[in-house]
């Protein structure tokens, strides 16, 4: 087989790879179901933390609020609320919402997990 034929074969294979990539990434990409909350869009994360703050306002239960926040990932509850507070300030949340987040942040900064509190 001549070199030109090999080049044709390689070019055809490359075209096939390109087609496969387009199909697998664009036309029929892997669909995700059953995902974990740590990949939620920032808007949804912020709204989730906002809900925790709203619930915390009446419940005042540090343990419950911390566990709810833990759903969003392995960061500490205070870090999660801090980043949400930054997001809220940048995205024109209402002052009332920012106050609620601030209250939750203050609570989470004083929160000590039960295991850590025990000697």
């Amino acid at each position: 087989m001549s070199i030109s034929n090999w080049i044709r074969i390689i070019l055809t294979a490359i075209a096939g790879i390109a087609l496969g990539l387009v199909y697998g990434w664009v036309i029929d990409p892997v669909e995700y179901v059953d995902v974990t909350p740590n990949i939620l869009h920032a808007d949804f994360r912020a709204d989730y933390v906002m809900m925790v703050a709203e619930a915390h306002q009446s419940e005042k239960d540090l343990e419950t609020s911390a566990k709810r926040l833990a759903m969003l990932g392995s960061e500490s509850p205070a870090q999660i609320v801090t980043s949400t507070l930054d997001y809220a300030k940048k995205n024109n949340f209402t002052q009332n919402e920012i106050d609620l987040l601030q209250e939750l942040l203050t609570a989470m900064q004083t929160y000590q997990p039960q295991e850590a509190a025990e000697p």
Partner: protein, 310 residues
Amino acid sequence: MKMIHLLLALLLGLGLGLGYSWMISPVTYVDASPDILRADFKDQYRSVIAASYASTHDLGRTRARLELLGDTNPGGELNAQAQRMVAAGESPEAIQPITQLAQDLQQGFASIPVTSTFTAIIATSSPTNTPNAVASVTTAPTKIPLATATPVTQDATAESSTTDTPTPAPTTSFAQTALIPLASSTFAPRPTFTAMPPPGKPFELIDQETVCEPAAQPGLMKFILTDKRRKQIPGIEIIVTWDEGEDHFFTGFKPELGNGYADFVMQADIMYSIRVVEGGASIPNISAPNCKDSNGVEYIGGWLLTFQQP
């Protein structure tokens, strides 16, 4: 050069491309929406929505948040989740906001509970006397229609909620971190609670029908509780007592049969007394009726009791 060589090269390339894009480096999400969350995380998300609603009583915004989960019937999903939580033995404090939200979604306006009372299930029944609907939470709601509770604010809030949560587009390149599993409840069990009389008029028994259906469960006592407009009401406590014990259960835990539906399985030759919430209707001396099928063979029938608020 034969065309077969080119075709084989194309197929080989295609296979390599698909293998890479589907298995080695598939599209990954970094900006997911709540509707593709795993079922247990959706439950957790719903619980937080309900807890938030219990604090804010903002039904419009809560509806918008529930829509993010992509449930076709948010109220039904909440009821189903409450059932799962009851079955899992979770605390009444954790379940109550969910049933409250489901009820408010159904009636279309916010109920602000004046007091929430939690009633422990009294486990003195014999093993065969098991109610089909078992829950352990009730509330004493005061109905405040949104029409009289600043509807403009409600609408504005709901609108801002929907506009604040745009649907994200999936993007590539993402590194996933492990999640910490959540504990389902943090409340200590409470062995005894004092039931408080709820506000509103007591229920009255308006209809009592014998149910003779050979295919039905023997001794099944069905309850349907409605308000004065005949709209079924969930979350109403029913107490059934007999010589050897007592059971408490609530309407609305079988939403597929109606939000005001509950049932209880009677045993033959046992007299039961029924009471619907504190101060409500009390029906003494109820026992499973005897029915006859087309061949004259006797079997245990059931009752359909309909209660209504006057």
